[in-house]
Symmetry: C2
Subunit: 397 residues, 2 copies
């Protein structure tokens, strides 16, 4: 079963071929009879659409199923090899790329260092190069790619893929990411990094319908899945928890102009600075993680206190949103237990019993690849929606 964040019925017409395809590719339907029952469509309408999907190569006949009395039903299966999908997770200092099949299984993946400040032209040209190499290693070309999904570390208009004043991506304001992948001739979906990570985490734990993904890196952000759907907010800025005000004895100025934002007090950059002031050999957040993992007492204490500060904010969000799980990810998540212990301490102390009773808080077990996998999953849903499937059928029938 392929878990999807946007169940087809909400987006696509229930009578569309895309909806029938969705019923099969998510494991809900395995035969024409299943499709008739689940869609409410007539036998002849289902037949017509299934024939079109078979002709377009999106479905396969999978041989006879088990008979329940009469003629055994012919089973249908989704052709996950009807195309390739690219998932890209663009970070401030690195890029992760994966090529997957149409079910989201990773066929090849790679990672490279980069500097986001090199700007969109250089960074995206390098990303394109890595993607082309991966495709070649699989014996494929750009023409095999059905969709590209990209997560970026900044605010982006999801509908157009345009960056909007991204604070940690100098030179990227107004950049239209999809334009740089025009020669693939396919759908290109762009979203911020925490949203694609949330999709990636859900693909691993499809039973999770209400959860938060908290990314702690240089900055702090949050991906939100509610009632099984990625939640973006009224203007697309939901989950921007890094600038929630926290009380502190000190007054810490944040890059945003406000004082005592969570990110300015407990983000990776702030912690590295604080560690250096304590005389620890730390230049970057990664150095601090290293010391913490080695068990340096000052580093461990710093990280645990950062966990508490984040936990205090999360406790309020737990009371408000009542999630069943919080997944902690990002570079600082590699610090492991000291971070988790601080977060748990504050959340469980300050949340309501009813909201906290069944709340799980854990470190992601896929810090490295949830981003690119989520980006690919988002791309798959994008390229198999009603408009795209109708276009595929029109071209092949």
């Amino acid at each position: 079963v392929l878990p999807l964040l946007s169940p087809s019925p909400v987006v696509d017409s229930p009578a569309s071929a895309a909806h029938l395809l969705w019923l099969v590719r998510t494991g809900r339907a395995r035969s024409r009879s299943d499709l008739i029952e689940l869609s409410g469509l007539s036998r002849s309408s289902v037949s017509t659409r299934v024939e079109q999907l078979l002709a377009a190569g999106l479905l396969h006949e999978a041989g006879p199923g088990r008979s329940t009395g009469g003629r055994p039903p012919r089973l249908l299966s989704f052709n996950r090899d009807a195309g390739r999908v690219v998932g890209i997770d663009l970070g401030v200092t690195s890029v992760d790329v994966a090529v997957t099949d149409l079910a989201g299984s990773v066929l090849a993946a790679t990672t490279d260092d980069l500097d986001i400040a090199d700007g969109p032209d250089r960074v995206l040209a390098r990303t394109d190069e890595l993607t082309a190499q991966l495709l070649r290693s699989l014996g494929c070309g750009k023409g095999d790619v059905r969709a590209i999904g990209i997560g970026v570390p900044g605010p982006v208009e999801h509908a157009t893929g345009r960056l909007v004043h991204p604070p940690v991506m100098p030179g990227w304001h107004d950049a239209r990411v999809p334009d740089h992948f025009a020669d693939y001739g396919c759908a290109v979906l762009v979203d911020n990094d925490v949203n694609v990570i949330a999709v990636g985490e859900q693909s691993r734990s499809p039973q999770l319908t209400h959860f938060l993904v908290v990314k702690m890196g240089t900055g702090i952000g949050c991906g939100i899945v509610l009632d099984g759907h990625l939640y973006r907010g009224s203007a697309g800025s939901a989950g921007d928890i890094g600038h929630i005000h926290v009380d502190d004895e000190r007054t810490v100025l944040c890059a945003c102009g406000n004082e005592n934002c969570l990110e300015a007090v407990a983000g990776g950059a702030a912690l590295a600075r604080e560690a250096a002031q304590l005389g620890l050999p730390v230049a970057t957040p990664r150095d601090l993680i290293g010391l913490t993992v080695e068990g340096d007492r000052q580093a461990v204490a710093l990280v645990r206190e950062a966990g508490r500060r984040i936990g205090e904010v999360l406790a309020a969000l737990v009371n408000f949103a009542n999630p069943s799980c919080i997944v902690v990810t990002g570079g600082l998540a590699r610090a492991g237990n000291p971070l988790l212990a601080g977060i748990r301490e504050a959340v469980y102390r300050r949340s309501l019993p009813l909201a906290a009773r069944s709340l799980e808080i854990r470190i992601s077990d896929r810090v490295d690849d949830a981003g690119r996998i989520g980006a690919a999953r988002m791309a798959i849903d994008g390229c198999l929606d009603e408009a795209h499937v109708d276009a595929l059928l029109a071209a092949s029938n």
Copy 2:
């Protein structure tokens, strides 16, 4: 157009008669042709279901529409008089009851004082009496009631209508509210007060798809509508913001056992106590509102400061959830401008520009009746869902 919080496609099968009825009663479809286009069903399937809905008295033929060339289409209209609905808003000291038609228009309404501590038997018997009086005044009886919706000031299992340790409703734990209305022989839906108020506010402003309703009374709670849907959380406790921790110079013990909960610092009961300590002639929150409206400087300052404390919490929730509107309601909302000014000051100072840019914060213009209207709307959706409509059709065909 009747705005609904749970669009039928999510809950009901798109091929169901309930879905076709929903398309008509929400103004989306006005003819059989509209229904064919919007549902994806065949002409004959739509015809069959429409005939059943006509026979059951849920739809009317509304005469010929405007021709676009051929035979003019016969228009369909929803029979809003096919039954009556009761909306009840149960408070700690009063109860509001309304009888509406199936489109949610109020036909008769009443309010009475009560003491919730009298327990479920006495309080619900009195509520039943008020309802029966209202129905008689309309020339109706209990048999005309298709559904009853009830908002209660405490946590409730929505699926069963059972109260769960409600802190301000002594004697109500485990009470099953629907049992007390069994002689109506209809659906009885129970939810907490802020949720039904949120439904009532949305029925007034159907364009609002992302908003919070903050109820400030003795306690503080929040109803949440996201992506057009009432949001309840993974365990039904979403919106319980009264026990979010706030920093304060003082240490204020909350009834929940924690310290410095928002409700303990800025709720109506806390403010009344604080006003009395200042020597103001205040025994209840209502007295404090009276002084505030009269312009007493100390009362105004107290209320404004309470607004700031609530605004500090709301600022964090605005960054997290990115709503387009916050509606302030409940008894303290009657204090008006001093409260609103305090809330706005804190929210706009601490929210991110992107999240706050298009954020509206206002006092409800229906503090008195959003609860009972929302309860009725919730009941209408409940009694016209797939299961109930199928049962109606089976009984009448």
